[in-house]
Symmetry: none
Subunit: 261 residues, 2 copies
């Protein structure tokens, strides 16, 4: 196996687990311990991962270890690296002093990490985002009214007068279950309702989806593609899908890869 190939696999392993041991990597890659150590040292020097005694860990350790909803905890780990790149690009679109809305979804959640050292007015219906920003940032945080759903970690309300009507944001960032020609899709009708209500409070709508979401379909449409201002995704997006998005008139941002190719 080639050196680059090993590096690539090591980074994937590291981004998916909080920590991998040298022994695990030896097993996974079939190389000697010495080689793995050299690889880990190299990637560490290159700033691609964090070396710890006994193995390596991600540069971005899971920000909230005390996640409540299992489904949420799981969805956070798949495609973690791509999601992080997307989230980083999204955070870069914000300026200090700006007012933004962040919706649910694990990609949007990762934005919180990149807003840590910023001063932004954030409205969110995601309880974990609120919790993280409250404890780790200087951002001001505003919540809509509603019931707290454990599985999705979202605040949702069946009533239209949920207090979000007084909020205005220049941008809203949100994730989704799937994206197709017909629009942006979610599974739960309550999530759709909560998201669309927030969407009306924002001037620009920015969709955050890792490229795997273009293959996903779901049952309920949040909004049409033409209603979006920007879509941020990772480099895995197919040219066909890229063309389709651009045809709808929305700006497509492909987050730069932070991985070794």
């Amino acid at each position: 196996m080639h050196e680059r190939e090993r590096h690539r696999i090591i980074l994937v392993e590291v981004s998916e687990k909080p920590v991998v041991t040298i022994a695990q990597l030896v097993e996974r890659l079939g190389a000697s311990e010495a080689t793995i150590r050299r690889d880990v040292n190299f990637l560490h020097d290159a700033g691609k991962l964090n070396k710890v005694r006994g193995g390596a860990e991600s540069l971005h350790p899971p920000i909230s270890t005390n996640l409540v909803g299992r489904p949420f905890a799981i969805s956070q780990t798949i495609n973690a690296q791509a999601k992080r790149e997307v989230a980083k690009a999204a955070a870069a679109m914000c300026e200090d002093g700006e007012s933004i809305i962040i919706g649910g979804g694990s990609t949007a959640y990762m934005m919180a990490e990149y807003l840590k050292n910023r001063q932004i007015h954030v409205m969110t219906n995601s309880f974990v985002i609120a919790e993280y920003l409250l404890k780790n940032s200087k951002c001001s945080v505003t919540l809509p009214a509603g019931k707290l759903y454990r599985e999705q970690n979202l605040i949702l309300s069946p009533f239209p007068e949920d207090g979000s009507a007084n909020f205005y944001a220049s941008k809203m960032f949100f994730g989704a279950q799937g994206v197709g020609k017909l629009g942006v899709m979610e599974t739960d009708p309550q999530i759709v309702q909560g998201t669309t209500r927030l969407l009306q409070r924002a001037e620009q709508r920015v969709l955050l989806v890792d490229s795997s979401k273009f293959a996903q379909r779901s049952s309920m449409i949040i909004c049409e593609l033409s209603e979006l201002d920007t879509v941020i995704t990772d480099q895995g997006i197919e040219p066909k899908m890229q063309k389709m998005l651009e045809a709808t008139g929305c700006r497509l941002v492909i987050a730069p890869s932070t991985q070794v190719q």
Copy 2:
């Protein structure tokens, strides 16, 4: 198991339970007692958790503070104990399936601990109560809309349409800065506004104050004593104050002392 992995798991355990013992962690992690102690010491030095005799507890305002062996002033300790007794008596007033509102204040906050194993519909403008109930109980949790204030850990909104209008509760439990002949008092006008708005959504109003609050005064009146249905306090209340309260027609509950004499 890897060191980082242990640290991560310990932090999860600590954030999920009010207090976790060394023995529990030994069991959970399969490492020796010495190692666990070293880990706990490390995390303590790193400021990630609070070390207590026999184990570790969360850094964030632990609902159940270990009374023994704390360098707090004795009066403070007694106050905490009194608050806990009051909170326990308050929780005993609730029945499963009931809808209640819990306001801010440290006494009300302690109620959360006693609602852990209950099934109650709770609306609260206290972020920490919401967080605790979401993670540790089966209660359903509903929030009003508003901005999150870090110092008070409260959700407050200047707008009347904050989403609480659709909620109804049989009882509202709330604390206060001080209590006098003129009524229940608080310092911050925003807190007064938020509390009074919630008070209107409840059938019965239950005030939770440890007896030291009868000596306190403050600048803004939340409501008059005659508007209260019940006042719960501890055994430290003076007979004079007791008479005054009973004269207003509200029920006075003196929480039984749980302290060993």
